[in-house]
């Protein structure tokens, strides 16, 4: 006999609680029920009421729909961080919710599977002896494929990746040393979460880094526990890819020929290059060092200065412009706009998809309607 609803909800509740690492006793206490009642609910002997279910969804940061789900695909994650820290479970759940919301919007609007994911460049130790050279080649090939040219900077990496099938979620993570997460699954495709608490320069590098993983290490998205790749090669490869994807060799040389010539590179040249390629001081100084245009001591000095700034950035890029430009064309928001203005979804549904309250959602929809009114006037 199949599982009935109270068994299904009970099982999902237990799984969500256990995944969040909360034992029965404190969870029952938070719900205002006894441990025995919680146990009976989780074992499918007693139905949970909607009030407790809503409380549970809040405590566990899960959407209500999660508890009614017959089967769920858990996302396998890779992540990038400054230190050996593990992303909190709530963050993983938020990320998965976003990936699901994105997919659901695509299905509602009728454009699911219309954007192909980027190709795979699988790396294998036994076939490719020089990992960094491989990453370098992938960066060059991918720039060619995306018709970015040999020398041009990437105008907006958020928009570029999203236009090419990557689902991007910018989210304020309370762990500033956690730069980003990425995931790949058949159902959701490639997804990247970028920590919007970081500088915009770091966010750009994180996107490129995680994109490198998605291109080269796709077979590693298997483990359901977030994995910080233990093999240093893989992280170094993703860094190498990101550096060359954002600052291509020919582009850097061309820029230096045009702006510096043979004279010694000064700090203002480095800042100009950083702005041109839209990267951090660390990234540009690393690339200049690799090109033997600045000595190691100078690179180290710049890195030290960058380190002293903590989570700030020297001569920062215009963060708001980059994010605003992306949002104006963001596929996720375009789909959301289309769905709600075409009355394919309700305001309540949109609130859930955007993870905003009903007032915030109404304001956003009102702004979208005004855009339409102006456009049609």
């Amino acid at each position: 006999m199949g599982e009935n609803l109270k068994q299904l909800v009970g099982r999902n509740l237990r799984t969500a609680r256990e995944t969040a690492g909360i034992s029965q006793e404190p969870f029952a206490e938070k719900l205002g029920i006894s441990r025995a009642t919680l146990s009976a609910i989780e074992n499918g002997h007693v139905a949970i009421d909607s009030t407790k279910l809503i409380q549970a969804s809040r405590i566990l940061s899960r959407p209500i729909t999660d508890f009614f789900r017959a089967e769920a695909e858990e996302l396998a994650l890779l992540y990038r961080s400054a230190e050996k820290i593990v992303p909190e479970e709530q963050l993983r759940v938020k990320f998965q919710n976003f990936c699901e919301a994105y997919r659901e919007l695509e299905e509602i609007v009728g454009v699911a599977d219309n954007v192909l994911p980027p190709p795979e460049y699988p790396f294998a130790h036994h076939l490719h002896s020089k990992a960094l050279n491989f990453a370098k080649q992938v960066a060059s090939s991918e720039r060619d494929r995306l018709q970015l040219g040999k020398t041009e900077p990437i105008a907006n990496i958020f928009s570029l990746l999203e236009e090419n099938g990557v689902r991007i979620f910018d989210y304020e993570v309370d762990q500033p040393a956690l730069f980003g997460l990425s995931a790949f699954s058949k159902q959701y495709g490639p997804c990247i979460l970028v920590n919007s608490k970081n500088t915009i320069e770091r966010q750009a590098f994180t996107l490129a880094h995680e994109y490198g993983h998605l291109l080269m290490h796709r077979d590693r998205y298997r483990n359901l526990n977030p994995t910080q790749d233990s093999e240093p090669d893989f992280e170094a490869m993703a860094d190498e890819f990101a550096g060359l994807f954002l600052v291509p060799l020919d582009g850097l040389r061309d820029f230096l020929t045009r702006t510096v010539g043979d004279r010694k590179i000064a700090l203002e040249d480095i800042v100009a290059a950083k702005h041109h390629f839209k990267v951090s001081l660390k990234v540009i100084s690393r690339r200049l060092f690799d090109e033997k245009r600045i000595p190691e001591s100078e690179k180290d000095d710049l890195w030290k200065k960058a380190g002293q700034l903590g989570h700030a950035e020297l001569a920062p890029l215009d963060r708001h412009k980059i994010i605003r430009d992306w949002r104006e064309t963001s596929r996720f928001y375009t789909l959301a706009k289309k769905a709600v203005l075409g009355e394919m979804i309700s305001i309540g549904k949109l609130s859930e998809l955007l993870d905003k309250n009903v007032l915030e959602t109404r304001s956003r929809v009102q702004a979208w309607r005004k855009e339409l009114t102006f456009a049609s006037a």
Partner: protein
């Protein structure tokens, strides 16, 4: 007799927000005293936006068949959020009407033979029972639209004609 004059009504969040944003909750209170129902899914959505409707009766789903109905409506209507699904579920269980302005929610309710009305219907009812004048109703409606209510121009025009004709 006005169709909203009798029976209970289950509200979705967005319709309540129309009255909150125009500071006319007292009108809802007097028109639906003892007859306004809120699913706890709607209560939660409103609470997230720091809104509370004290006069409404909160109706949780307490049994497996009730939860099953909620899940069935949810599965058949992916376009709706939990609040709207909760509001429809409560309307069905209590044999009440549904108050919503949302097209998808109205469609789902119609399939379950639930009578539906919205913010315009409520203002119309207020005029009918002389709680507000036609001019007041038009003013409130204008404010609702400015505050983000989305109502078809045709319906709005019809409403103006109806309430101002007397």
């Amino acid at each position: 007799m006005h169709p909203l004059e009798r029976g209970e009504y289950s509200f979705d969040s967005n319709s309540v927000v129309d009255f909150v944003k125009t500071a006319t909750m007292s009108l809802l209170d007097s028109l639906f005293a003892g007859r306004a129902l809120l699913s706890d899914f709607v209560v939660q959505e409103l609470a997230d936006a720091q809104i509370e409707w004290k006069q409404a009766q909160i109706v949780p789903l307490t049994t497996e068949p009730e939860l099953q109905l909620f899940d069935d409506i949810r599965r058949n209507n992916r376009a709706l959020g939990s609040g709207e699904v909760g509001a429809i579920t409560i309307a069905k269980l209590r044999k009440a009407g549904l108050i919503t302005n949302d097209r998808q929610a109205r469609k789902a309710a119609a399939e379950l033979n639930i009578p539906v009305s919205g913010s315009l219907g409520i203002l119309n009812y207020g005029v009918h029972v002389h709680q507000i004048s036609g001019e007041e109703a038009v003013r409130i409606l204008t404010e609702m639209i400015l505050a983000g209510a989305w109502l078809s121009e045709e319906l709005v025009e019809q409403f103006r004609r109806d309430v101002l004709k007397n």
